[in-house]
């Protein structure tokens, strides 16, 4: 009940802030880039609010329960991506003054077909990244309100489409700045209070020592809503719907739906895709095979470090800064705001491993953030904190979904619709197109989210990051810093990057669950990014065809404000 109120309050406040923002959204420029007059702090909070998605709010803690400290490289890469943006992209791109990545590609490389290719990649990455947000919505609303999965997905999709269609980017900027603070508050406050309440980290031995996660002294009862295959790490006697049974150490057992009862102190069985780890293994960030192997870690860091700049909803934000130095200042603030947030998911993962062993049985580790408050602090206080956390999760997937939808709708209304109806250049027409597109662009991800309920959130997220890192990242870096990039080179590199990442992820999915030896397939960046760079540079060198006016384009990218070149900028 409290959860309903909290989510309702955040939804109402978001709509309110959005409607308040609409009053400013009169021109096309307002709708797309908020008239470029947003202050660095507002902009930084909006960028962070947009970026902290369901994967950050729910996924990192869930992966920490599942894989241990090896999952902590993920937030590191997520935040580090903004450093790459700051060092190589933020100021030049702001000075260049395009609205979107397709705009940049067309202007910098003087090629219409390349623009269409870039628009296609925007739609691919954006839709891929929208699916896990909607999935998070279905999970969270299901957990808090008890609604079926599809209700949460459809309700949030509709709310986001409405908010974006009415407010455009200007409304969304304030909504997202607001939602950053909702999220930061919702993840930090319960973490602090729970740690205080528990008097620090409980049962340290079980956390970090030789121990496996164990059932509490009073025993553990797990309601299985679906059949699940689990592995028992130790020989265990258990009961299924009251009927006694036993398993040998290391035995794989298929449990039907029903009630599983484990005696107190028994090592809990783990679902498919989870490895039973002692505290010592679990708390080691690097080591062993699979996720902990340096190759997999570096591939993940590469994808997130370079992929962030290629996410379509991120770059468009830098056009809202008034000038180059403001874009830099904004990015530094973003690094601070993200760092503040990313310290906390590890707390939930660590406590969840001890206090919520049943999640290891069902494999639903993504629920750890939502369930932890009530498990750690039974009673009214736990309920209040659970409501706070649910509101934060709600803010997480709505804000990221809003940002994605702005860039998807921008791309659809301009590149798809604008091409079909060449005459539609008047402001009123474009605004209508943007509003129609923001509803239309939501349909496909929504359907996919409903169909692909069983696909892992983190798999879709790492796929989107890897595609971004091996398409837009090389285009941006080479386009900004190298005169010699040609349209043919950029196009070939983007195609190669997309094909390699997609093929590797598809091969990983087809090969069954992503286990130790196939984990690189789910983390393809270390192969696809160098390949995309090599193809872009190689093709550009083999058939050098300088872009017309490349000197002036480079001047527009790099010349500081106030040296007499400003009138050339949009």
């Amino acid at each position: 009940m409290l959860g309903v109120l909290a989510i309702g309050a955040v939804a109402a406040a978001s709509l309110g802030v959005g409607v308040w923002g609409v009053r400013f959204a009169r021109t096309t420029s307002d709708l797309f880039v908020a008239s470029r007059a947003v202050s660095p702090w507002w902009n930084a909070a909006a960028i962070s609010g947009e970026y902290l998605s369901a994967a950050s709010f729910l996924g990192i803690a869930g992966l920490t329960v599942k894989f241990g400290a090896a999952a902590l490289w993920l937030p590191l890469g997520f935040a580090g991506g903004y450093l790459a943006l700051l060092l190589f992209v933020a100021a030049p791109l702001r000075r260049f003054g395009s609205y979107t990545i397709p705009d940049f590609v067309e202007a910098r490389l003087d090629s219409g077909p390349l623009r269409s290719l870039a628009a296609f990649v925007v739609l691919l990455i954006g839709s891929l990244y929208l699916v896990p947000q909607l999935k998070g919505a279905g999970l969270t609303l299901g957990e808090v309100l008890g609604t079926p999965f599809w209700v949460g997905v459809v309700a949030v999709a509709a709310l986001v489409a409405l908010n974006v269609g009415l407010g455009g980017m200007r409304g969304v900027t304030y909504v997202q700045a607001f939602q950053y603070w909702v999220k930061a508050f919702a993840i930090s406050l319960p973490a602090f209070l729970l740690l205080l309440h528990l008097g620090g980290l409980p049962e340290r031995a079980a956390l970090f020592g030789q121990e496996l996660p164990r059932a509490p002294r009073a025993g553990l009862v797990v309601e299985l809503e679906d059949p699940v295959t689990v592995t028992f790490p130790r020989a265990t006697d258990f009961a299924l719907d009251g009927a006694p049974a036993s398993a040998r150490a290391g035995e794989e057992v298929r449990l039907p739906e029903g009630r599983l009862t484990l005696p107190g102190g028994a090592a809990v069985p783990v679902a498919e895709g989870i490895e039973a780890q002692t505290g010592e293994d679990w708390s080691r960030p690097a080591g062993g095979e699979g996720r902990g192997s340096p190759l997999a870690i570096y591939s993940l860091l590469l994808a997130t470090f370079l992929g962030t700049m290629g996410l379509p909803h991120i770059l468009v934000r830098f056009y809202t800064a008034p000038d180059g130095p403001a874009a830099r200042r904004t990015t530094v603030r973003v690094l601070g705001l993200l760092g503040l947030f990313y310290v906390f998911p590890a707390v939930y993962g660590t406590l969840g491993r001890v206090l919520l062993p049943e999640l290891q049985v069902t494999g639903e580790t993504d629920l750890v953030v939502l369930r932890l408050p009530e498990a750690a602090w039974p009673g009214p206080m736990g309920d209040v904190l659970a409501a706070v956390v649910a509101a934060g999760a709600f803010a997480a997937f709505t804000s990221t979904a809003s940002g994605l939808l702005v860039s998807l709708a921008g791309t659809v209304s301009y590149d798809v619709w604008g091409r079909v109806r060449r005459g539609a250049r008047r402001t009123a027409d474009r605004r209508t197109a943007f509003r129609v597109a923001s509803a239309g662009a939501m349909v496909l991800p929504c359907v996919v989210a409903l169909l692909a309920r069983d696909v892992d959130i983190s798999l879709l997220v790492s796929w989107a990051f890897a595609v971004a890192a091996s398409t837009f990242c090389p285009v941006l870096l080479l386009g900004i810093w190298w005169d010699g990039l040609t349209a043919a080179g950029a196009g070939a590199g983007m195609v190669v990057g997309t094909v390699i990442t997609t093929a590797m992820v598809a091969a990983g999915v087809a090969g069954g669950t992503v286990e130790a030896d196939t984990s690189l397939l789910a983390q393809p960046a270390i192969v696809s990014v160098p390949a995309a760079f090599a193809v872009m540079v190689g093709v550009s060198l083999l058939r050098p065809r300088p872009v017309r006016g490349v000197e002036a384009l480079m001047a527009a990218l790099h010349a500081p404000e106030g040296v007499g070149l400003d009138e050339q900028r949009a």
Binding site: A69, L72, W73, L76, A79, G80, Y82, L83, L86, L87, F88, A91, G200, L201, R204, L207, F208, E280, S283, R284, P285, A286, G287, G292, S293, P294, I297, Y298, L301, G324, P325, R328, R329, T331, V332, L335, G336, L338, G339, L340, Y342, V343, A346, W481, E551, A552, M554, A555, H558, A559, P560, G562, V563, G564, L565
Partner: protein, 105 residues
């Protein structure tokens, strides 16, 4: 004889000089960014390998938290902000130098 044009006029006219000024600016900015990148690679980029090779040496716990996990979970974020702040200051400085150069009569 016509006096030498101001650098800002050359920029606007897109002369050979202006191309030279801009190329020099771009090279300085790129050098600065690469320096920051190398620093980042040295400090945070080496972490996975260091922890992989020296995992046992870092198995000690501080206040119940294993050192290796803590090293990944907290300090890199502060380092990101510090490095970003320093970089942004220097990059703005490079831009300002260029503006001074161009405006010098």
């Amino acid at each position: 004889m016509r006096p030498r044009p101001l650098p800002s006029e050359e920029l606007r006219a897109g002369t050979a000089h202006s191309a030279l000024y801009l190329r020099r600016l771009r090279r300085r900015q790129l050098g600065l960014s690469l320096l920051a990148l190398v620093t980042l690679a040295g400090v945070v980029g080496s972490l996975p390998l260091v922890l992989y090779l020296a995992g046992d040496a870092l198995a000690h716990s501080v206040l119940g938290v294993p050192l290796a996990a803590f090293v990944v979970a907290v300090p890199p974020f502060a380092f990101f902000v510090a490095l970003g702040w320093l970089y942004a200051r220097r990059a703005d400085g490079v831009d300002a130098d260029f503006q001074d150069l161009v405006d010098r009569p």
